[in-house]
């Protein structure tokens, strides 16, 4: 893969990867770092990546980077086993505070599911393929997540 081909790849997928990463992390810095790490890994692995599966590869690597980053952020807050206040949500637009709060109550896999569905517009078939679920399985799981979000977002 030449650098111009890589540039086209970045142009094409960068917005989607940012939406996925931000949807999972709820944090701009972590999202940016995760996507940057993904592109770096993609460039380093450019000869090994199956072009036909590039989208799934990028999504997977980005999601894994988000997981690692979130774990690091959690551990970074910890020194000598003492509890410190949770990170503030100052960067969240006031209009989205309740939504961000509801999303933060989901586990990472469910946030990934929500991001794939509502951030990237993937179908249940595509989500299932990405997460190793059947299409019906993805739908059922999404409905459970929506039920939980509906309870959290009381104004809905």
């Amino acid at each position: 893969m030449r650098s111009d081909e890589f540039a086209r790849l970045v142009e094409r997928y960068q917005p989607a990867l940012m939406r996925l990463a931000y949807g999972m992390a709820g944090d701009r810095t972590i999202a940016e770092d995760a996507v940057q790490a993904c592109w770096h890994a993609a460039w380093r692995s450019r000869e090994q990546i199956d072009r036909a599966r590039i989208r799934g590869w990028l999504f997977t690597v980005t999601a894994n980077q988000v997981r690692r980053s979130l774990r690091r952020r959690r551990l970074r807050e910890v020194l000598h086993g003492r509890l410190r206040p949770p990170p503030d949500r100052g960067e969240v637009d006031p209009r989205h505070v309740d939504l961000a709060s509801a999303l933060s109550g989901l586990n990472l896999r469910d946030r990934q599911l929500v991001a794939l569905r509502y951030g990237l517009g993937l179908t249940s078939e595509e989500i299932g393929e990405h997460l190793g679920l059947s299409a019906s399985g993805a739908r059922v799981r999404l409905q459970r997540v929506l039920l939980r979000l509906r309870e959290e977002l009381s104004d809905e």
């Binding site: 970045v10 949807g23 701009r28 590869w57 997981r67 896999r109 179908t123 929506l146």
Partner: protein
């Protein structure tokens, strides 16, 4: 393809799109491409860091040097991890497949001796164990599973400290070749249980680290989702699931010397397990065997809840309510009748928990004032020790705390420093989150440490060492290092 949506889903979708639209900044992809294709060494936040200016970076470097120079005098010369394996704490590390002798520290990292404290959970009776002062002359087995970035497959190394066997099983093709999944179990009695999942077939295998023997125990078209081994190394346990439906297909046992697998928990067999056979959207199973082999605990978590069961090694079980195990909880280990678990929470530090397998009661491990996040369970000099790590990534400091289950006391077991962005230090064994795994049947009082180094933008385990709780001894284990490709 469009799918039907109800009102809430439609409104949620709109709000979520606005939320994402207001969140991520637009990034200059030209700069991103230029930086990546120039093969810039990637570190956390490197692109943003580049904008901070040389002065800031230089100041940080100076500060780091000062910290590295001063810290050993404060905490005891426990170790400094850098990006290169050569910079390990152990100065006398050799390339021979044996444990290099204890090198580094001269004083215990904990200034104050541990004091017994009142804890709500039932403490365990002390059991004295001999803790060797060094690993010289000790013969123990170990394995490491090396999973580099998703281009290169996996490497499983099985070795002993005495060098009687050192073999590497390599599956280099990420896309089509077999995978070592799930995570291996052991060593116990020198035996390591591992699974090769190849297409739709899972092969359960046992490797003897000392003789080098490698035997297939059984294979199945079902999914082997978790494996465990009893402390003597004589019996392997594994959980089976149906591939299309994710329905539980039983907990099975098989002698590691060979023989027929037998179901410890059949499905469907009893009312208690019938629900487990139902089709699942998504399952996250866990499996653990107690340190004395008398308990086997297994968990099947799905989207928002978990089914937890604990049985005796003969397959019998008490009819208890196990609703105290929650989605997000992770089993760390079982000592006596107590299961030690880690939990998920929105706070930076999540308190672990203890679950009494006789009663189903659950208690917080450290409590609100002093939460303790457990990551490993080892044998200590007076009884089981729970280990938890604390990491300050900004300062490049890592600490392992030990909680004594015989009296509730806590003490510092290990401290190390590392260069932020270049390397990291972590507890290696049984780490529930990190993508790299290792196991070693170290003698009582010793535990595994992994030093990670940045490579290709991702932190990889560069070398391993063993440390003693409280004695500040650390021994590098070069025979566990991942082979170079």
């Amino acid at each position: 393809m469009s799918e039907p949506r109800d009102d809430f889903e439609r409104r949620f979708g709109q709000r979520y799109a606005e939320y994402l639209g207001d969140g991520p900044r637009t990034m200059d992809t030209r700069n991103l491409v230029a930086a990546v294709t120039r093969d810039m060494p990637q570190r956390a936040g490197w692109l943003r860091m580049a904008t901070l200016g040389a002065a800031t970076i230089a100041a940080a470097a100076i500060l780091t040097l000062v910290i590295l120079a001063v810290l050993p005098r404060i905490t005891g010369p426990v170790g400094t991890a850098s990006g290169s394996p050569q910079a390990s704490a152990a100065p006398d590390a050799s390339s021979a497949p044996s444990a290099s002798s204890a090198p580094s520290a001269s004083s215990a990292p904990s200034a104050t001796p541990p004091q017994p404290v009142a804890v709500p959970w039932p403490i365990l009776a002390p059991s004295e164990a001999s803790v060797p002062s060094s690993l010289d002359g000790q013969d123990f087995a170990a394995w490491t599973l090396y999973r580099p970035p998703p281009c290169c497959g996996s490497l499983l190394r099985i070795a002993t400290s005495a060098g009687s066997s050192d073999r590497v099983i390599d599956y280099p093709d990420f896309f089509s070749a077999p995978e070592f999944w799930p995570t291996p179990a052991g060593p116990a009695g020198g035996q390591i249980i591992y699974v090769v999942t190849e297409g739709r077939t899972a092969h359960l295998r046992v490797a003897d680290a000392r003789t080098g023997a490698d035997t297939e125990l059984t294979s199945t078209d079902l999914l082997i989702a978790r494996v465990a081994i009893d402390p003597s190394g004589s019996t392997a346990y594994y959980m089976l699931f149906d591939r299309p439906t994710s329905a539980f297909q039983g907990l099975w046992a098989i002698p590691t010397s060979g023989g027929q697998p037998t179901p410890l928990v059949s499905v469907p067999a009893t009312a208690a397990t019938a629900t487990l056979a139902a089709t699942r959207v998504h399952v996250e199973p866990q499996l653990a065997v107690s340190a004395d082999g008398s308990w086997i605990a297994y968990v099947i978590c799905h989207t928002i809840d978990c089914e937890f069961h604990a049985i005796h090694a003969d397959g019998t079980a008490e009819p208890l309510d196990w609703s105290n195990f929650h989605a997000g909880d992770q089993m760390v280990g079982i000592a006596g009748d107590l299961l030690i678990g880690a939990a998920e929470c929105p706070q930076p530090t999540c308190d672990g928990f203890i679950l009494d397998l006789r009663t189903g009661e659950r208690w917080p491990l450290g409590g609100d004032d002093a939460p303790f996040a457990p990551e490993a369970l080892i044998a200590g000099p007076h009884g089981p020790l729970v280990l938890g790590e604390s990491v300050d990534y900004d300062q490049g400091r890592m600490r392992v705390d030990a909680l004594d289950l015989t009296d509730g006391s806590r003490s510092t077991a290990f401290e190390a420093t590392f260069e932020p962005g270049i390397g990291e230090v972590h507890l290696a064994e049984g780490h529930p989150v990190l993508e790299y795994f290792a196991g070693a049947d170290l003698p009582a009082g010793w535990f595994l440490i992994a030093r990670f180094a940045a490579a290709d933008g991702i932190l990889l385990p560069a070398d391993y060492s063993a440390a003693t709780a409280g004695a500040a001894l650390e021994t590098r284990l070069p025979f566990m290092e991942s082979p170079t490709r």
